[in-house]
Amino acid sequence: MSEATAVATRPAISPARIRAWLPAYGVYVAIALLMLFNVLFTPNFLAWSNLRIQLIQMAPIVIVALGMALVIGTEGIDLSVGAVMALAAALIPLYLGYGVIAAIIVSLIAGVLVGLINGTLVAKVGLQPIVATLALFVGGRGLALVISGGQLKDVRNEDLIYLGSGDLLGIPVLVWIAALMVLIVGFVVRRTVFGRRLLAIGGNRPATELAGVPVKRVLITVYVVCSVLASIAGLLAVARIQSSDASAVGLLIELSAITAVVVGGTPLTGGRVRVLGTVAGALLMQLVVATMIKHNLQPSTTEMVQAVIILVAVYVARERKTR
């Protein structure tokens, strides 16, 4: 019967409406409120020097979160992103001797390989994504430490440092790169065959398979893209701090990335990816930390507050199986 009209006659504001609206757009409201608070009560918050730092700190998280959002869109998860960042970081100094391009290519190849492993385990062996990515979550950082000999290595390559610390038109190159990635991933999700297929897989894998979509290939590609984005974040982290420390790069980034994705309104149950929301999620978490630091709260407090925000976001967005 006419369910379309039934939708239209529903009251504009109802608990059900709010429940549907909150996970998707609540993040923007929270950002607005937090910005307002800062403009009123935090001195120099809108100063470019401050905003600049916030953007630079956000950039790697955004890049990793973009890949995570794609994986989550297929109803998956990738716990190995932090390990991939460490691997990429460890490889950079080893190959800088062959030129910066070679070093970058090598670290990207590492990302591709990790993605192939994860993707194959998920798509072909049929492991749950969390199980499949656990092996590299456990061993990946160790491998990075083995590769780097467990030492912190300074990086002195001008070109690489430019990527991490340089400016272009007054805006940090790092931020340009992150913005570019956002555009690319947004474009991929919206405009490509691949993007639409991955959403369909997350929405209903058996149906997508029956429709003749090469599901396994798409899934493997998604994990490869996620790992490659993580390795880009890893090499940018090296470029920014001008040294390679495999024991610290990307530590706990899987948590930050998942948080950004979930806070941004992408459901963990797949079938939908909010690219802009993911950026907003990362921004919100960044603002929370910055606000607290500006108001002289200790890092320990910010960590506990972050933990609570994550739980609230996941709670709000959790699946309701009552239908």
Partner: protein, 338 residues
């Protein structure tokens, strides 16, 4: 009629199939349960031949005392993973427990044990309640708890800058002394493991743990209190992580505020290598012991070689984990198909 003849033939084929299925089931079950033990034996034999210092009583005692805290964490993790969950917060809880224990030791031996148990147990309750009652994914809840517990630890240690020393002599003596040449902590851990084994295999709670991991829906239809069981395993995991922290504090004489110890990853690796299915429903504590010891022995051998970075340990854990997880999927399939 020909029908009856074919019926006999069918019956014979079915019986043969059945025998074959039982045989494969036994072999696969053996590999799943005892595989880690077999690998452990092989590694110990190789170690004994290759390193003269390896096969001494002192070295064995060293391996055991080093393995004591991770073993406790792995014990809790075994229960959690058998229910089909995962607890990523235990590394943080371990560090938090150590700091709390060292701090509380100024009031005596008992508070040094009880305070970390209380704090970590409470976080376990939170984990369990959120996972069981609001259907949030275990990995994300416990990942948030990892962050929260770390914040808490830093908050009570002045952002990690204060290291509390253990003030109580009896507590120190517990951490460093030994009985029959084997450290007290090892005896304690052995006792806790014995209790854990009885709990898992000989009580209704233990069977409920297996049932929840095997099939939540079926378990609840069969009358198992699914939610309560889930809460309890996370509480146990928290308690055991706290206890492990206390033991470590007693051993080192202080609550060390290192971040990102990766203990949760070692524990998961040990449990999975010990034959527990990451998807839940099957696993043994004996397997977990073998898994913990296997990783401990490998670590010890890496130290024996010298100039090899200890991070090889993680690589080996990860590699083992990958092999075991993939092998398990095929073993489970093999069992099913027949």
């Amino acid at each position: 009629m020909t029908q009856t003849v074919s019926d006999h033939e069918v019956a014979a084929v079915v019986a043969a199939d059945e025998r074959r299925a039982e045989r494969i089931d036994r072999i696969v079950g053996l590999i799943q349960r005892q595989g880690a033990l077999a690998v452990l034996v092989v590694v110990v034999v190789i170690g004994s031949v290759a390193f003269p210092n390896f096969r001494s009583f002192d070295n064995a005692a060293t391996i055991l005392i080093a393995a004591a805290p991770p073993a406790l964490i792995a014990l809790g993790m075994t229960f959690v993973i058998i229910t089909g969950g995962i607890d990523l917060s235990v590394g943080s809880l371990y560090v938090l427990g150590g700091v709390v224990s060292a701090y509380a030791s100024q009031w005596g031996l008992l508070p040094a044990f009880l305070a970390p148990l209380a704090v970590c147990g409470l976080i376990g309750v939170l984990n369990g309640a959120l996972i069981a009652y609001s259907r949030m994914a275990p990995f994300i809840v416990t990942l948030a708890a990892l962050l929260g517990a770390r914040g808490l630890m830093r908050a009570i240690s002045d952002e990690g800058s204060t290291t509390y020393l253990v003030e109580n002599d009896a507590f120190r003596a517990f951490g460093t002394g030994s009985f029959l040449g084997i450290g007290y902590p090892v005896w304690l851990v052995a006792a806790v493991f014995a209790l854990g084994m009885v709990l898992l295999s000989r009580t209704r709670f233990g069977h409920a743990v297996y049932a929840v991991g095997g099939s939540e829906d079926a378990a609840s239809l069969m009358g198992v209190a699914v939610r309560r069981t889930k809460v309890w395993v996370y509480v146990m995991s928290g308690l055991l992580a706290g206890l492990a922290g206390a033991i470590n504090a007693a051993k080192l004489g202080s609550g060390v505020t290192v971040l990102g110890t990766g203990m949760e990853l070692d524990a998961i690796a040990a449990v999975v290598i010990g034959g527990t299915l990451l998807t839940g429903g099957a696993g043994t504590i004996a397997g977990t012991i073998a898994g913990v010891l296997l990783l401990g022995v490998i670590q010890n051998m890496i130290n024996q070689v010298g100039n090899v970075p200890s991070s090889y340990q993680q690589v080996i854990s990860g590699a083992f984990l990958a092999v075991v997880v993939v092998a398990q999927t095929y073993l489970v399939k093999l069992r099913r198909v027949t």
